[in-house]
Symmetry: C3
Subunit: 341 residues, 3 copies
């Protein structure tokens, strides 16, 4: 009997099946500190208990992307160990703030299956939910991946493609009940701009860049208990490179976006995202944002819909004339953030 | 008067002497998070307070190897600063779970001395005990090292070689009183195999590999306040390489062993160990295990005796025809782990 | 409207102006653990709650330099983003121990301005104060930097050069009220030498060296939310090198100084400091100290005034015949530390 996990193949997924993922994880002050060492994170809400208290929270919540990576990391051994490609995200909603001391675990429901016409692989859609130690959901999102078949001779399952919202509706944002920006201190937050100061279509060049080291992305990826070989084992790819976990690029870009979006305190939903090109150590990553929408969610609190782009190249450049992502573009993320109105 | 510590030489040790080591260290959430960032650690018991509570513990204990490295690190300035070689370990017993907030210190008793026939060095055996802030022992182990003499003209002490058990007896395992696997959740733990599913002689290839970076092993080694120059100073060796602390390899291999031994939740004893070959940054380390014994320790709780091998090479390969470790083998560790029976 | 912070230029500072810096930061166990992983820190007072309790403290305070870097880091976007050079420090006083869970923020008052004769830049003196969540000051220091002018045609302000003490007076040291070395355990602290064992003029070679990695200095510098591009972006300088934050070198040298100054438990004042030469990854940093003064501050407690030098070269060598720092010298720091008398 083989003791090790070879991962699931396309034919191992059944529509409607719920997978309980290993390993639950308690997140605490150490994870917060490491996150702030790994990324140039400066959003005041997650940085300061004192600031968070003035915003109505019970101290600084853990960074929303710590929650995302932790919930996501648990799915890797069951969902993406034999994945050929991570195709997309949708309907990501942060449902409850997570604080130091909370323990997270994940479950995924298979909500779509479609074999590729070549018969060698198929697309699997899962809706993943992260739960805390009280079994309350803290995050939910849909992700779809292309997975190899073990046995090409296996019959294809009936194709079911889930209907997914292109954008999380404002009414579906789970804005924390006690959150308030009434006593918000713009000096301490680092910038003066409220949501009203941003206009749709505005491009923000976040200016700063970070050159990535192998040790850093591996520390991060292990912290989320993401076990995909390709991030850690330099002998795995023929070119001897370690592919950087896409989430590392998300966190890096989000942190860089502080410079120009310092008041976008909280990611509340992820509408979609694409890892446009692979990222490797030695790359210098920059970020720019485009304001896609601005909406009021409650008196004093607005949501900004933002496109966040991580790139090795220039701000504003996204796709070539062929409609494809430019080779320097690493990430194209569409999310809602909360900000003083 | 020289203020700095030049380390002890062979003639500085006296049989029966007890050395109180500096520096006591409080271990907390930060050390846990760093450990989980430095190694691909996924054992549920140390990862999740919630999981640990269902196992009867007062929350997740700190990883057993955090305790080992911390207790060991303190001995370095007094025991191995002038060591030529770390020769072996025996009779390692984890005596009490350590939780975030506990403070550890170490003492070593000199239990054996034997000058080498060349008169230039000798072997020193110490029994090291780690204590917590209540002066209760948390770990005890024997280690022997070859240490240089300062002055070859010094007379040799009477040779005393301690009698050491080859294996820690099952009756001597300090299984935590409240530990229970009655409500054990195999889904959350990550694998289905109980102790009964392993057979003696079984070889488990843990599949995954990690390429080591300089920054990582130095972060780890400093965290344990292990000050041996050779790990940090690239000018120390003629080849300009920094030797990786053997404990880094132990932790890496143990973490990799999750894949196939996910339910081996707790190291409870170390029977012996050899750092077979030096490890350097750039090495890609893999691990395999051999089941050496299985024993019942209490209803529902078994102990697996495991050989854990870290290697740059293939699973299962350990020694050449000459009986010596193969050049790719880095570590050969013999330990007892607790697992649902 | 540009959303990003372009930093201040010389003409943007007004004498007497107080700048409230972003972003407040809660420091906890995670920051402590990272600090001890990034530097070979072994001072017992900051390492062990148990040891600190015997010294009259409420558990181990956070390392004094964690406080310094955190308070300093906040000033970077407002003070040194367009700085040509960090010219000096003076009158640094640690005013209150900081414990895990405290939240720090910074303010700077402009206390001096002097345009350079070339009309292209000027020197700005600020007195920066760090406050905790109770708005009590924890650290105060003066720093002066050379800052570019945005517009050379702008008239120079009236030159005001503050009068600064060359050394913080013994009477101005804010020795924690409850601190006592009455029950001090020299074994656990790691060395036997009291203040009385050091003589003025004594040079201590701290022996150990550390070769610096890119990942390490970036982790550290981000942890202090220091955003200066030059530390992170390999494309920023023409030579493709990332300049290491001067504070990283301070912390490294201070940690190395344990070997010979293990009982210099607490930095209580910084009299002055110069970053003599830039430091880059790959450098092997060593440290040596010179005893500049010894003073009694309270029964049983002495202050040692120390020159701490970080160097790539030999202990004791500081300046060339021309009076300039030798090219290997990285740091020349003048500080007061508390030690058993």
């Amino acid at each position: 009997m083989t003791k090790t996990n070879a991962g699931r193949f396309f034919e191992d997924y059944t529509l409607g099946e719920v997978i309980r993922h290993a390993v639950p994880r308690t997140l605490a002050e150490g994870e917060r500190a490491l996150y702030h060492a790994l990324y140039p994170q400066r959003f005041a809400l997650q940085s300061s208990d004192a600031f968070a208290l003035t915003c109505g929270m019970d101290g600084a919540p853990l960074d929303d992307l710590i929650v995302f990576h932790t919930v996501f990391g648990k799915t890797v051994p069951d969902v993406s160990l034999n994945a050929v490609a991570n195709l997309g995200y949708a309907e990501g909603r942060f449902l409850k703030p997570v604080y130091a001391g909370d323990t997270l675990r994940s479950e995924s429901e298979v909500i779509g299956l479609k074999q590729n016409s070549n018969g060698k692989s198929g697309v699997v859609w899962v809706r993943t939910t992260g739960f805390d130690q009280m079994d309350e959901p803290v995050l939910s999102y849909v992700r779809w991946v292309m997975v190899r078949k073990r046995d090409q001779a296996q019959a294809a399952p009936e194709a079911v493609i889930p209907t997914l919202e292109e954008v999380v509706s404002i009414d579906d944002l789970a804005v924390p009940e006690d959150l308030t920006f009434e006593h918000y201190d713009f000096d301490l937050a680092g910038e003066r701009h409220r949501a009203a100061d941003y206009r749709i279509g505005e491009i923000i060049d976040h200016v700063d860049g970070t050159t990535i080291e192998e040790a850093e992305h591996m520390l991060a990826t292990r912290l989320w208990q993401n076990t995909a070989k390709v991030h850690f084992d330099a002998t795995h790819r023929e070119d001897g490179k370690r592919l950087i976990y896409g989430g590392h690029v998300i966190s890096l870009a989000r942190a860089l976006s502080f410079n120009g979006l310092a008041n976008a305190q909280m990611i509340i939903a992820i509408n979609g995202g694409a890892h446009a090109n692979p990222c490797f150590a030695g790359d210098t990553v920059r970020a720019w944002s485009e304001v896609l929408d601005v909406a009021q969610v409650r008196p004093g609190i607005a949501a900004l819909r933002l496109r966040l782009v991580a790139t090795r190249g220039a701000a504003g450049a996204l796709r070539g004339e062929d409609g494809k992502y430019l080779p320097d573009v690493l990430l194209d993320l569409d999310y809602w953030a909360l900000m003083p109105a």
